[in-house]
Amino acid sequence: MQILKYLWERRTTVLGYIVTVLGVLATSDKFTESTVEWFVLIIGVITALLGHHNNAQIKKQAASPSPEGGFVRLGLLAMLIGVISLVLAACTSFVVRSYDQKVMAGYASVALINDTAATLKNASVITLGDAQEVQRKTREALAGIDTAAKLTPELGQGQLADALALLKTAQDLICSSRPQEPNCAYLTQRTQL
């Protein structure tokens, strides 16, 4: 609560730093074009909302402005932090070094591929058959990763490589024909299979 209070009292400054960090991230070469487009869209929407809110607050509180001019309400700030957290999380790359970390990244790739397939199926972008085939592949890959996780790096390396190769085929099944589709662009960048 102390931290929240501290941030709230300096909300304008905090917002400035956050936008600066997002701007640097968006202009680096680490992210795909579609990711940067999401950056711009989300930041634009937030800025517009804050602008409208700010104007309304200034009119309402002209007689007794808050120390920073009533810039944002707590709910709006919470929404802003939530959205920024999502964007930052979506844009962070996994730094994988050890065998166990590759296992972790394998589990994460299974999750990302399954969730992308579910979303594309719900949106009727992929067929029922494709979704079922993706699930078959990711289940087989999950079993392979489970086995590899119990082995030493020397013994499990091959098993893990096979599982990751299978995940790549699952990813290709739904995304190779639509690499520019935003979900596929995001998936391809995150899994790095």
């Binding site: 999380a89 166990d100 990302l112 399954n114 579910a118 699930q135």
Partner: protein
């Protein structure tokens, strides 16, 4: 694709990234190559949960 689907994917994917990112960052900062059983179980749970969500999407036909 509707906004709810998109938000659901973004939220879920971000959650996956946050959990894995937290585990990997902790391992790196502590200089560990080995994951604890709890960390492995937590990462595996992400995959299992996502399988359930895909099953729901498939069940809709």
């Amino acid at each position: 694709m509707n906004a709810a689907d998109l938000l659901a994917l973004l939220t879920q994917s971000a959650n996956t990234a946050l959990v894995i990112g937290e585990i990997l960052t902790r391992m790196n900062s502590e200089g560990r190559d080995k994951a604890t059983p709890e960390e492995t179980a937590r990462a595996r749970a992400l995959a299992v949960d996502s399988d359930a969500r895909l099953s729901q999407a498939i069940a809709r036909g």
